[in-house]
């Protein structure tokens, strides 16, 4: 039994790996292609020439100003995707990313406007503030789930609504907004101090936000935690099978709370690139819906830090390039939303199909290899 086994081992391992990669890439590539086809049909039906539209998007995407804009936006999307993905890895559906990042950035803007430390301290202070607030807000959903059995889907949706109300409650003159009489209708915090500004890189295509470094750091830490730490193993085990994790000694209650807090902490960072490099204050300019884009990005990126990077770039590219569609040729910009939506639907279906196929295929392969080994062993005995 042993000799054929050891001989078959390296070959088997290699083949399984290449196949794994092919299977892994098949789903997103197919999903993107399918959504391109759907959008092309939609455009053609509405009497527009579809390939011209794709050409407009592509040529803007390859231009340097388009690339810088794409990268800046992808930074935000990446953080949103990572926040959602961290919870997904635990089988938790954190729909509350939206509320968590709004509160995070509000508090960061307030602290930034009130405190003026040297940049070395000020920047980390704002990052920590945003993460703490986001994490604490998310922990409410975690605690409710663990101690009261409330589904995190329900509680985070509710907390989103509550977060909006809390923002409204705090963002009044005399609380977080300055009490300066009624100079404008727009209510917003004071601008953050100059030391709170994050560094930027000037390129030929415009200003590249330095926050991309933070996004990369989050991705690296995410990957490291998942694959190299005991905590990450417990997290993945719980995500794969809660019952097996419980039996193996994982404290599932604590894991639920911890991962909600971490997810909320990452969510807290989402609003900071905009705050610290572009707008410098919190007001009506805050972009809603980033939490939901994060969920789409995480789904497309298969909850893996590297996958999310690609899907964040793709979503950012679609958004940025989509702005050119009405300008060049009068295409509706909404086609981009259609494309993003169809990608997500296709990819969810495709992943499940690929997952089942892969599992079945491996079972068959293992069976076939074992049968071959058994046959070989029998021959040896006979000889």
């Amino acid at each position: 039994m042993t000799s054929p086994k050891s001989a078959a081992k390296p070959a088997a391992k290699k083949r399984f790996d290449t196949e794994k990669i092919v299977l892994g890439l098949a789903a997103p590539v197919l999903a993107v292609l399918l959504s391109v086809v759907i959008c092309a049909v939609l455009l053609a039906v509405s009497g527009k020439e579809p390939f011209k539209a794709f050409d407009v998007m592509f040529s803007y995407g390859t231009a340097s100003d388009g690339q810088v804009l794409t990268l800046n936006r992808a930074t935000v999307y990446y953080l949103a995707g990572a926040a959602a993905a961290f919870a997904f890895r635990m089988n938790l559906f954190n729909i509350g990313v939206d509320g968590q990042y709004k509160l995070g950035v509000l508090f960061a803007a307030f602290v930034g406007s009130q405190v003026d430390l040297p940049a070395v301290l000020q920047v980390p202070l704002l990052l920590v503030t945003a993460m703490l607030v986001g994490g604490m807000w998310a922990s409410i959903a975690g605690l409710l789930k663990v101690y009261r059995g409330v589904s995190e889907v329900i509680s985070t949706i509710m907390l989103n609504a509550i977060a909006t109300a809390v923002v409204g409650l705090l963002l009044v003159p005399g609380v977080f907004a300055p009490d300066k009489g009624t100079a404008t209708n727009a209510i917003q915090t004071d601008p953050i101090s100059a030391s709170s500004h994050f560094f930027t890189i000037e390129t030929a295509g415009g200003t590249l936000w330095g926050f991309v470094v933070i996004a990369i750091l989050v991705g690296v830490l995410f990957q490291f935690t998942l694959s190299r730490t005991r905590f990450g193993f417990d997290l993945r085990a719980t995500g794969r099978s809660e019952s097996a994790a419980t039996a193996s000694g994982v404290n599932v209650k604590r894991m639920v709370i911890t991962s909600m807090v971490v997810s909320g902490g990452i969510a807290g960072l989402i609003g900071l690139p905009e705050l610290m490099t572009s707008s410098y204050y919190f007001g009506q300019n805050i972009q809603p819906g980033l939490g939901f884009i994060g969920i789409s990005v995480a789904l497309l990126g298969r909850n893996s830090p590297i996958g999310i990077a690609f899907s964040a770039l793709l979503f950012a590219f679609l958004d940025v390039a989509g702005t050119q569609l009405p300008l060049q040729g009068g295409y509706p910009q909404e086609i981009v939303n259609v494309m993003q939506g169809t990608i997500v639907i296709c990819v969810v279906v495709a992943y499940e199909l690929v997952r089942r196929y892969g599992l079945k295929r491996q079972q068959q392969k293992v069976g076939a290899e074992l049968a071959a080994q058994a046959a070989a062993a029998k021959k040896e005995v006979a000889a």
């Binding site: 085990a237 039996a247 193996s248």
Partner: protein, 600 residues
Amino acid sequence: MIDTASGRGPAGCARARHRASSVPPSLLQRNDAPCDHQEIAITASEPAPTPTGGNPSAGTATPAVELRGITKRFPGVVANHDIDITVAPGTVHALMGENGAGKSTLMKILYGMQKPDEGTIAVNGEQVEFNTPGDAIARGIGMVHQHFMLADYLTVWENVVLGGEKLYGIGAKAKAKIREISDQYGLGIRPDAMVEDLGVADRQRVEILKVLYRGARILILDEPTAVLVPQEVDALFANLRDLKSEGVTVIFISHKLHEVLSVADAISVIRRGTTVGDADPRTVTARQLAELMVGAELPSPESRESTVTETEMLRVDTLRIAKADAEGIERVVLDDVSLRIRKGEILGIAGVEGNGQAELVEAIMGMLPLDGGVVTLDGVDLTGTLTRARREAGIGYIPEDRHKHGLLLEAPLWENRMLGHVTESPNSKGMLLDPAGARKDTRRIVEEYDVRTPGIEVTAASLSGGNQQKLIIGREMSHRPKLLIASHPTRGVDVGAQAQIWEQIRVAQREGLAVLLISADLDELIGLSDTIRVIYRGRLVADADPATVTAEDLGTAMTGAAAGHIESAPEAVAEFQAIVAEGTEAESTDDTATDAQAGE
């Protein structure tokens, strides 16, 4: 006499190996012979009793179901091999065999859930081919699954009609039909009751009614008694007799000897995926059946010396757990349970499933909160600690349901090797994982415990049940546990792996391991344990010495009929052990993997 109605293969061949019950089993050839059936039927009369009413056909008529040469292969294993079964109409036909023998696969084939690779199925004399359960239903075959498929928040009536709306509509006509069937077969079902308010036995009757409503005349019951208490079993059997008298054919899957003997008209035994014999329940004894079912793989109780020491390893005192059930009534699942296991001792817990075994295990593992009691391991009080701390303190755990509690099915083998021991070497160093160490150790486990796999990067789901179990045992043993909790360690495992698993437990026992063994297989319990306790409705009601007890007497105690210290008559014990021992010598272990779990 030979079972003439079965119409089975060359009669001379069968007669040649026909035997009286006094012939030792070792003298008989088994499935390695050219003709692989042995008959234990001794009566001269018709094997199938003539139906008492409803069905015009007599025992000599066309069989209701005839399976010929059924073979089903899953990747790498053969789940069913050349199975022949003939079921006479209007009878209760029991299909017996251990867990993993291939009963379920066979029934899935008969019910159209899986297609056989070879062989033919004939229903009422007509050759049929089933592609979906729908085809089987159209032919009048219905199946009641072990796990009920009912919607809790619908009434009985709605559940029955669901999916069968075309038959009698969904209104008064359907309700009248339900009442009619219920009265006809004495099922006593109220169509307007909510399913969530029903007990297990009632739900089972609803399932049976559901099948009858769809016109089934051939009923497959998959281990129907596993979830029932003895009184409910009696009631079910009364229902089955009613069904029979109305001409319905019942195929009854079970591995419980006394139940089969009390209800069946004919018995077919399956072992290692093939039919090894038919028996007439009126003449066959439980012992003969057990011997047919288990074959030669029983470990012999006398072939070893006691390794029990005086050092106490596990001490459980007055454990109590009460759970509120669906109706809010508090049900005591563990009541005043106290036990001790010494170093080198295997304590077996016997009991019908659902009498508190699972809760006892989970209480010791720290997975269930206690309402009272103390758990002490090697002098350390573990009562207030979490599962991980208990594992680190030296408890190894082979869970009852390995897919649910023992493995991450979609993770590679080496990650599964970490599961449950992620805080220990070689899986981690400090807070960081050590994948290289875990991989290396997984290779060692694969080698030492003969886990048949092409590599350690494949997912656990792609291994067969026996190999998954060997991996789990290898993992748990690798951390030198002080106490091993083995819940049904050989359930759904092929026979080759079974013998290995037993041997591994024995070896560890010799080195001073204390084992808490829970098993539904009484022969396994008697063969392995040093002491046996019987659990019944959450209480340890009886104890026995495996050297002086038979499976039959233990089975009696499991139904709550006996308490205190059980001791069987010495002659019965001697006979039981003799059969077991002879069986062991007579047959060499065949390496054919017959594992029904593969491919799942």
